[in-house]
Symmetry: C2
Subunit: 241 residues, 2 copies
DNA sequence: TTCCCAATTTGATCGACGTCAAAGTTCTCG
DNA sequence: CGAGAACTTTGACGTCGATCAAATTGGGAA
């Protein structure tokens, strides 16, 4: 019975959604098949190359998106060009600030990214009709708030060494490892982006990476590929006790 | 008819709620009279002196609160004692992290504060039953997220001078001014708290306050009382263009 | 492969902010 | 009103991370 229900369920679902990761953990997980069909009718999937801007600071927002793969960086810029990355978003996060039409930041693809976009108004309406969706969006906002506050501690009180280690630790625990054994991954951000995230300069980031490497806390190949032999040592370098 | 409805409404409301500020703008504004009665039956109002801790980092949370007056500071502390204030909350904000039972920070009264507390479970249940309440909590989370990200920019990229000016500007625009004419107010935080908020030391905060005073951007009496003759000049000193 | 350009690293120097110390101010409470 | 404590300001000096400059590495195109 249960399996029959499931089959019925999946056959009622748009084909693209059936194989889409956002069904698991993303906002779509809260929608009924009928809603999925409606959303699907107005949604577009696309690939975005690294470095491309999705939303500009101060622009009005007409679309929200699900992140299907890749990493998005959210950043704020001052009039004189100083920049600060204020958040990173990974699949299957929801991209967009509910209940507000003008963006207060820039959203840019940090890596090659795949997104599924739909009209703002449609999501707003569905959120009103579907408590589960509103709740899901709320939950993600709270997660982002927790992360933002964690970074406030990092930005305000940690040393350059601890900042870089904290960043690596966050990436190591957010990216699915290539192997189960050792923790190894590609950095989704350039040194310049890491600097903008940590409130440092490129040079300082580089020096601290070198130091962590010489101390044996991390291994680095080709600048972007990092291996963490012992996550606890990295955590300690990050100042987490 | 409308006024009759209103009278009926207010007569059905708990007496304490009728004169309570949280009815305007607070979460209670979304509740029905019946819900207000139920909430009221399980709620306690109390005064908290400046410096008293409401929730400790790592503690499990059994109660949420409305802030009726005063200022609450939310802070995180590292194992070695370094501290960062990650948020300030003013009346009629809601105090508590929905959908999570363990607090990741300390909540402490910055000034004398009046709060109205109720059991966590009751709010969670009402949020499930009342889309408007869930929505209201969501809205506040988003506001806090916007503020947190604004502060990430301040912490990561602004100079000490700009940080102090940004703080004063934020307070000036959040506190109701004593007079309509000039912008004058009491600082809700000590120099030590301001330092913990801005990721600076007490001495640096003091020096920057002195500089802003000598530059005529602010007037200071008795350390705590500040007057801002021209809000635009303060805004400029804060680096907002 | 080889060249070229961008990204990263490394080095030398500087300055903003932290640290340490002491003096001054404001608040509290008897 | 006065004494003591807590908070704030001011000064001298040190340090971490920024700045400026140059060398090195890596990746993509011909």
């Amino acid at each position: 019975m249960d399996s029959q229900q499931k089959n019925l369920h999946s056959s009622e679902m748009p084909a693209v959604c059936r194989v889409c990761d956002a069904r698991h953990g993303g906002v779509c997980a809260t929608l009924t098949p009928a809603q999925l069909f409606e959303l699907n009718r107005h949604s577009t999937r696309r690939k975005v190359d690294a470095g491309n801007e999705l939303i500009g600071q101060g622009e009005s927002v007409s679309h929200y998106s699900n992140i299907l793969s890749g990493v998005i960086k959210l950043s704020k810029m001052m009039a004189d060009g100083r920049q600060q990355i204020v958040g990173l978003q990974f699949a299957p996060d929801f991209l967009g600030r509910p209940h507000l039409c003008e963006s207060t930041m820039t959203a840019e693809a940090a890596t090659e990214t795949e997104i599924c976009s739909f009209p703002r108004s449609l999501i707003e309406r569905m959120a009103n009709e579907t408590p589960g969706l509103e709740r899901k969006l709320h939950t993600q906002s709270l997660k982002e708030l927790d992360e933002a506050r964690e970074w406030m501690l990092t930005l305000g009180r940690k040393t350059a060494q601890e900042k870089v280690a904290s960043f690596l630790y966050m990436i190591a625990t957010h990216i699915d490892p290539d192997h189960g054994e050792q923790n190894t991954f590609d950095l989704p951000l350039s040194r310049a982006d890491i600097a903008d995230f940590l409130g440092l300069t490129i040079e300082t980031v580089s020096r601290q990476m070198t130091k962590l490497r010489k101390d044996g806390v991390i291994l680095v190949e080709n600048n972007r590929h990092v291996t963490v032999p012992c996550l606890d040592r990295l955590s300690a370098a990050a100042g987490n006790d």
